[in-house]
């Protein structure tokens, strides 16, 4: 009994495949997420990243391969904010808490705290989603995911609608949560720099059919990575031929790359 509490939770995807009608979207996907670890999934749009995440979130039945998860409290942030239009910001953030049976006062308190932490203003908390900008809506969606204190976060391009300054703030918030709660994160992004800044493992996907073509590990802890490190790693990653073919980039001449590296 007591040992089970201390064992780190684990998400294990083995030989996963998926088809929409006759089209094969995913093929032979293997991946692991352990609590305390951030795994980033990068790849061109349409390669099946969202489908993979939805399968992990249990929103679609798994037909080929298997997904085994020992996480108890996963939270999902969708590619679109998907807020309930008839609920205020505060009630949207508190949705998962209400579902879990948390009392009204407690969930309002936590929702307010998270709303403010994700950079929303006091007066935004009473507004309805249609009164918020796209960036604000994604912040509400992130706050809704963090509010249930998840042990596994599934994020689908969480920061793509945000400006650089706010991105930096939310990276810091996410890293703070990671350090205090040691949660596992599976994050989709098409921003290589974002992946390098936040994640411990980067999985590069290629399209038709969607498959993982490359895996990178970054051993330096995320808190210690500075801009120089991120730029250097990005440049290195962009030199990799698997990454270049996956994103359909033409092979680059090596002297051009060294010049790009100069500023850092």
């Amino acid at each position: 009994m007591t040992t089970a509490v201390h064992a780190p939770a684990h998400l294990e995807v083995r030989g996963l495949g998926h088809k929409f009608a006759l089209q094969t979207i995913l093929e032979a996907i293997d991946l692991d997420v352990t609590s305390g670890e951030v795994v980033a999934l990068v790849g061109p749009s349409g390669c099946g990243k969202t489908t993979l995440l939805h399968l992990c979130a249990g929103l679609m039945p798994v037909r080929t391969g298997q997904i085994i998860s020992s996480f108890n409290n996963p939270a999902c942030m969708f590619q679109q904010p998907r807020l309930l239009p008839w609920k205020s910001t505060l009630d949207n953030i508190a949705l998962g808490l209400k579902a879990a049976g948390t009392g009204r006062d407690e969930r309002t308190r936590r929702a307010r705290m998270l709303g403010l932490q994700t950079g929303l203003a006091h007066e935004d908390l009473g507004k309805f989603p249609h009164q918020l900008s796209g960036g604000m809506q994604s912040r509400v969606a992130l706050a809704r995911a963090l509010a249930i204190m998840p042990d596994l976060l599934l994020l689908d391009e969480p920061f793509s609608a945000l400006d650089i300054g706010l991105k930096a703030e939310l990276y810091a918030l996410l890293l703070h949560h990671l350090n205090t709660c040691s949660l596992g994160v599976l994050m989709i992004t098409h921003d290589l720099m974002e992946a390098i800044r936040l994640s411990d493992t980067i999985l590069v996907m290629a399209p038709s059919p969607g498959r993982i073509v490359h895996r990178f590990r970054i051993d330096l802890p995320a808190m210690q990575r500075d801009d120089a490190f991120v730029y250097k790693m990005t440049a290195e990653l962009l030199q990799d031929s698997a990454v270049r073919t996956s994103f359909r980039l033409a092979p680059i001449k090596s002297e051009l790359l060294t010049r790009q590296e100069l500023p850092c």
């Binding site: 999902c76 969708f78 998907r82 008839w86 609920k87 998962g96 309805f128």
Partner: protein
């Protein structure tokens, strides 16, 4: 408390916005008055005489008595249509099989004129309360059904995924995801159905009952009493307008606050 006060404020703003409506109503009365002058009192009594007659009917007590009888019949038929139509419509919207089975029936119901139902009802229920109530029910039910069905059919599957991802229990899934959306379709259908119930009940009473506003109209017609006829019509229309604009419209605004920009 704050919610109540903001509700009251928006209600007052809403009343204030009624000035335009009142102005156009006054214009209508002016045209009526003018037409009354033109055709003479026997054909079209002017508004003043009509309201006086109505005041007389109210004073002697017969107005409220007949209106209560009529309202009771309309509300029973309307309530039954509401319960049956909403439930069946929701089920039909959520299940493809139920939809395929019920659609033709509803089309038949909508296509059949209320007066045809009235004749059938007369044969089945005779001169009692059953005839107007049944006619109101059949006239309103398909409208409520279609509203509920459309509401359930247009449910956003993506929000269903949100409900699954955040592990909403079935009851909360219904109250927090399904209901708010469906109500925005249902409520307008309810308002339409209420209007229809009020018209149909008067028609049914006119042909089938010995009491109620419809019966009173039949009596005033046989006496060639145009003033009383117009007085009854005014009472019926006035009551419907009052219920719709003082009760239903403010409720609709309140529950659909999330749709309009404040």
């Amino acid at each position: 408390m704050i919610l109540l006060r903001s509700g009251l404020k928006s209600f007052l703003i809403y009343l204030w916005s009624g000035w335009g409506a009142i102005a156009s109503l006054m214009l209508f009365l002016a045209v009526w008055e003018w037409a009354g002058l033109y055709y003479g009192e026997l054909i079209l009594p002017n508004p003043r005489i009509t309201f006086q007659t109505l005041a007389g009917l109210i004073a002697e007590g017969s107005a409220w008595q007949e209106l209560t009888i009529t309202a009771r019949r309309a509300l029973i038929g309307f309530g039954a249509a509401l319960a049956v139509g909403s439930t069946l419509g929701l089920v039909a919207g959520l299940s493809m099989t139920a939809l395929m089975m019920s659609r033709p029936i509803v089309t038949v119901l909508i296509g059949t004129p209320p007066i045809a139902w009235l004749v059938l009802a007369l044969l089945w229920f005779g001169n009692g309360d059953g005839t107007p109530i049944f006619t109101v029910f059949v006239a309103c039910m398909p409208i409520v059904f279609v509203g509920a069905m459309l509401g359930a059919r247009t449910l956003d599957g993506q929000l269903g995924d949100v409900a699954t991802a955040y592990r909403l229990p079935p009851l909360m899934r219904f109250t927090d995801i399904v209901l708010p959306h469906v109500v925005s379709y249902l409520f307008p259908a309810w308002i339409t159905a209420l209007g229809i119930s009020w018209k149909v009940v008067v028609m049914a009473e006119l042909l089938a009952s010995s009491d109620g506003v419809g019966a009173a109209l039949a009596v005033s017609r046989s006496h060639l009493d145009t003033a009383a006829t117009l007085a009854w019509i005014t009472a019926v229309v006035g009551l419907l307008l009052a219920v719709e604009y003082l009760l239903l419209e403010p409720i609709k605004r309140e529950i659909e606050r999330w749709r309009v920009a404040v």
